[in-house]
């Protein structure tokens, strides 16, 4: 007995989710930031940048983590007041829970006081990163 209904349901729902996923990856959103949480050199294992810091959470089962890492680490080479800190999410679970990191790569944009002002899930575009950093004073 052939039935096409389950196939149709799966393809419609997966397509809708897939488009949302594709469009939302990399967008830097300020409303996703966890308010009131202050990141310090102690919790991150490295000192913050003098103006801004990009804190990237990665995991081993994540292909775009590598692309995000090369983009951000290459971008900060030309900026003396911005740092890129890379964190293995799995070995920092307490921090991951506090900050509610759900997927990798997730990059937090943090000001000089350690306050998160925005975050991006997925690999952001160079222009998006530049615009987000521009807004951190």
């Amino acid at each position: 007995m052939k039935t096409y209904l389950p196939l149709a349901i799966v393809l419609v729902l997966a397509s809708a989710y897939g488009f949302w996923w594709k469009l939302s990856r990399g967008a830097i959103r300020s409303n996703k930031a966890i308010p009131g949480h202050r990141l310090t050199a102690e919790t991150l294992g490295e000192g913050l940048g003098s103006r801004a810091t990009m804190v990237q959470f990665s995991s081993a089962f994540c292909a775009p983590c590598r692309a995000t890492h090369s983009l951000l680490s290459q971008m900060v080479l030309a900026m003396n007041d911005v740092k890129h800190i890379h964190i293995d999410a799995e070995s920092h679970l307490e921090l991951v829970r506090q900050l509610d990191i759900r997927s990798t790569p997730t990059t937090l944009f943090v000001n000089k006081d350690g306050i998160e002002v925005g975050r991006a899930a997925g690999t952001p575009k160079r222009e998006q990163v530049l615009a987000a950093l521009e807004n951190i004073r």
């Binding site: 007995m1 052939k2 039935t3 096409y4 389950p6 196939l7 349901i9 799966v10 393809l11 729902l13 997966a14 397509s15 989710y17 897939g18 488009f19 996923w21 594709k22 959470f57 990665s58 995991s59 081993a60 089962f61 994540c62 292909a63 775009p64 983590c65 590598r66 890492h69 090369s70 680490s73 890379h86 293995d88 999410a89 799995e90 679970l93 991951v96 829970r97 990191i101 759900r102 997927s103 990798t104 790569p105 997925g122």
Partner: protein, 148 residues
């Protein structure tokens, strides 16, 4: 680069990134056939492919061999490479769905077969159509729920 992403050990397991995505397209077709014909044997066969991909890597599955022998020679020589661990993780998730679906079929719980096959199909479809990264979205959540 940090040790989770790149070490000499990790670099040894780089594969052609186009291979797993091609495999996901075949997987999508196979699982669609399993779902439409409600045929548990098709799901079992796909489950074996997932198991090989989860343990040895997607490049060693029948789909990976088709890619290597028939597709790759026709593509440009410059292959984008990726770490084998993310697609291996996806294959393991696929295997769990195939296992659950097969158990459903052989114990007469048809709805379990349909739902589990549907989820495996959704994952394979997302991978092939959107280059979806299952490990990115699921792995950390699993670790957060399963460890203290």
């Amino acid at each position: 680069m940090s040790e989770v992403l790149d070490t000499p050990e990790v670099r040894k397991i780089y594969i052609d990134a186009r291979g797993p995505r091609f495999g996901a397209a075949i997987t999508t077709t196979v699982l669609a056939i399993a779902l439409v014909t409600q045929n548990e044997l098709v799901l079992v066969a796909q489950g074996i492919v997932f198991l090989i991909g989860a343990i040895r890597g997607p490049q060693f599955t029948p789909y990976g061999l088709i890619y290597k022998n028939f597709i790759k020679p026709r593509l440009s020589k410059e292959a984008p490479t990726e770490d084998v661990r993310p697609p291996k993780f996806a294959q393991a998730v696929g295997f769990v769905f195939a296992l659950v679906g097969s158990i459903g079929a052989f114990t007469g719980v048809d709805v379990l077969f349909t739902v589990a096959t549907g989820f495996a199909l959704a994952a394979a479809f997302l991978n092939s159509a959107f280059n979806y990264c299952l490990g990115c979205e699921m792995y950390l959540l699993i670790v957060r729920f399963t460890s203290k």
